[in-house]
């Protein structure tokens, strides 16, 4: 029994404490409180089993392949070549934070100084910044009932932090780039985004893998992001998961929306053998607005699961969601979109749409819209469709001279482009459109 328990934690935690101690000299730092947070999370890790398909929240998502494995925590890797990293840069996003295997890589970071935003690694926090972080870090992404969040928090060493001060509008997008460079390790990236009252910012959270790192071996990324929008704040959150096809990627993101704030997110899942993204948006005050759009594009034997929850806890909230999956090969996509309208959250307006495109006979999708409405005066709509490419559409394009293959590619691309077009960063949009085109052509 004890043997299985050790294994079931995925992370091989031998010597973890001593490693952490050597990396961090926290005792006298303004981050001394981190120790307590980690210990608290470690208790949860010990208590919580890994989920299986017997758990309702994991019913469609079999992670037994991951559960069987044991990964050592990542150690700082050799310094990467500038060109290896530069391939992932996004032209417009000149404010950049880079982490390699979870470790801050200041040599690749840039910008920020004149943008009005405070963009830094947690370990470099000043006393004032540490004080601003403390009420939020580990407080929104609850770890008491989520073993992966607990593991991330228990091993928390560093984090990407973006603080946008009151009424500051940051015009340059901030690129937070997490690079996986080592095999057989677990990375625990962490993000904290704080948009203070009336501020505005766009953040790209980007997970990539150095392709030469491991064509045959895997790594495990266990990421946690916490986002806070104070009153009237606007935050656009672009999340791109483009890890290698052997990777395991599990991520939790918790978003707290203040009064009349506006959170817009586009998440794109392209990579990983098995991936899971939990996005939880809580409207903590009246009149907040969120848009949760997503695209999953997978093939081969990939499994990608997106679980979202929009919690309308207060009145006059608005939410919109468009989630699309394009599934090829014998891949398996899961979408579970929960919308909660709490008692008293009157005049809530929630729209959800999930559209899925199956490219092959073996492709598989499980979709589950879930509305839980406890208020009486609300407007909630949801819809889900699963289909194949429309043969009339293919014929229409063929009748204009396109080959059947080109027609199918164009339609598949167009299906995905509807979500990608919502990304307000041109070069990233173009990159992703190319990826969609390449991936579509590869599998048809």
């Amino acid at each position: 029994m004890s043997e299985t328990t050790t294994q079931s934690k995925v992370i091989d935690d031998n010597d973890q404490e001593s490693q952490l101690a050597s990396q961090l000299q926290l005792t006298a730092s303004p981050l001394a409180w981190l120790k307590g947070l980690r210990e608290q999370a470690a208790t949860s890790v010990k208590r919580l089993p890994l989920p299986t398909t017997r758990d309702e929240e994991w019913r469609f998502t079999d992670i037994s392949q991951l559960s069987k494995m044991s990964f050592a925590p990542a150690l700082p890797a050799n310094r990467l070549e500038a060109a290896d990293v530069a391939q992932f840069y996004i032209d417009e996003a000149t404010i950049r934070l880079v982490f390699v295997d979870g470790f801050f890589a200041p040599e690749f970071c840039s910008g920020g100084a004149n943008s009005g935003a405070e963009v830094f690694s947690l370990l470099a926090a000043t006393a004032a910044q540490a004080a601003a972080i403390k009420p939020h870090l580990g407080q929104h992404a609850a770890f008491a009932n989520d073993v992966f969040t607990a593991q991330n928090t228990a091993t928390l060493q560093d984090a990407a932090v973006v603080i946008v001060p009151q009424a500051v509008a940051v015009t340059t997008p901030v690129h937070v780039l997490f690079i996986a460079s080592q095999k057989d390790v677990v990375n625990t990236p962490r993000c904290l985004l704080l948009a203070e009252t009336g501020s505005a910012v766009t953040v790209i959270e980007d997970y990539v893998e150095l392709s030469q790192a491991h064509a045959t071996a895997s790594h495990f990324t266990n990421a946690v992001t916490e986002i806070l929008l104070e009153d009237n704040a606007q935050l656009t959150h672009i999340r791109v998961q483009r890890e290698g096809s052997k990777a395991f990627h599990i991520a939790n993101c918790a978003v707290m929306l203040g009064r009349a704030s506006n959170y817009q997110s586009v998440s794109v899942a392209l990579g990983a053998r098995i991936s899971r993204y939990n996005l939880h948006a809580l409207q903590t005050a009246e009149g907040s607005q969120c848009t949760l759009d997503g695209l999953t594009l997978i093939s081969g034997r990939q499994l990608a699961d997106t679980h979202t929850c929009i919690d309308h806890a207060k009145p006059h909230g608005i939410s919109q969601q468009l989630h699309k999956c394009i599934v090829g090969g014998s891949a398996h996509a899961v979408f579970n979109g929960k919308v909660i309208v709490a008692e008293g959250a009157q005049r809530t307006d929630a729209k959800q749409s999930n559209r899925n495109l199956l490219l092959t006979a073996k492709a598989h999708i499980d979709t589950k819209p879930q509305l839980e409405i406890f208020a009486s005066d609300v407007k909630c709509t949801h819809g889900a469709t699963v289909g194949q490419l429309d043969s009339e559409e293919v014929f229409y394009l063929q009748s204009r001279g396109l080959t059947a293959t080109a027609a199918r590619n164009l339609l598949t691309y167009a299906f995905g482009a509807e979500v990608i077009d919502r990304i307000p960063i041109t070069s990233l949009k173009q990159q992703l459109e190319q990826t969609v085109l390449a991936q579509t052509e590869g599998q048809l």
Partner: protein, 264 residues
Amino acid sequence: MIYADSKVLLEVRGLCASVNGIEILKNLDFTVRSGEVHAIMGQNGSGKSTFAKVLAGHPSYEITSGSVRFEGKDLLALTAEDRARAGFFLAFQYPIEVPGVGNSQFLRLTYNTLQKQRGHEELDPLEFDDFVREKMKLLEMSPDFLDRSVNEGFSGGEKKRNEILQMALLEPHLAILDETDSGLDIDALRIVAHGVNQLTTKNNAMVMVTHYQRLLNYIVPDYVHVMEAGRIVKTGDKSLALELETRGYDWVSTDTQVAASVSA
């Protein structure tokens, strides 16, 4: 217009086609020469639209017998895209919406595909933009249509104009307009008809499939055919369309039955 000694573009002989085992086209004969404008009329279910789709290569229809030669080539042996590349064009009754694909991107893609096929130079986005805007003037289309997704959110009339715009770009040798007039108000009809007339030359031909004589006031046909039960039962000039408008279709079938019984 009928020209002496013009070449045969399309020759349909004894064409039979079925869908899901139900025979729709029954021994259909039809000939089009270059320069000509034809109208095929007929009641719902007579097989007009099926005929148009069969010629375009729609995969749902099975050809059970007969032949179709297009400029001497066996049209039925070609894929739908090769028919388009060979100069055959179908303006759809219900043009498909393609959300996510910009109209200008789509138009340029189809244009360049055919240009390449014909050994002509492809146009880059800027060159194409000038070219397509010129063609759009013909149909009084706002350049805004270029920035929208293909047919998405277009009104019925806008979709039909977009079809004729494609025809203008692709310069087919033979175009079939499947109920291009349906759902158009009188202004839109006039604009579309004007565009079609501008595109008609002595080297190409048009076949209009329609329910209504109204269109034929604007695009004057050289021949009017009446289709019934999967074949052409009567052919005349433009006065036949007027006669159909006033007398309906019943007299045609009665006449045909009489003719059939006489010949039998």
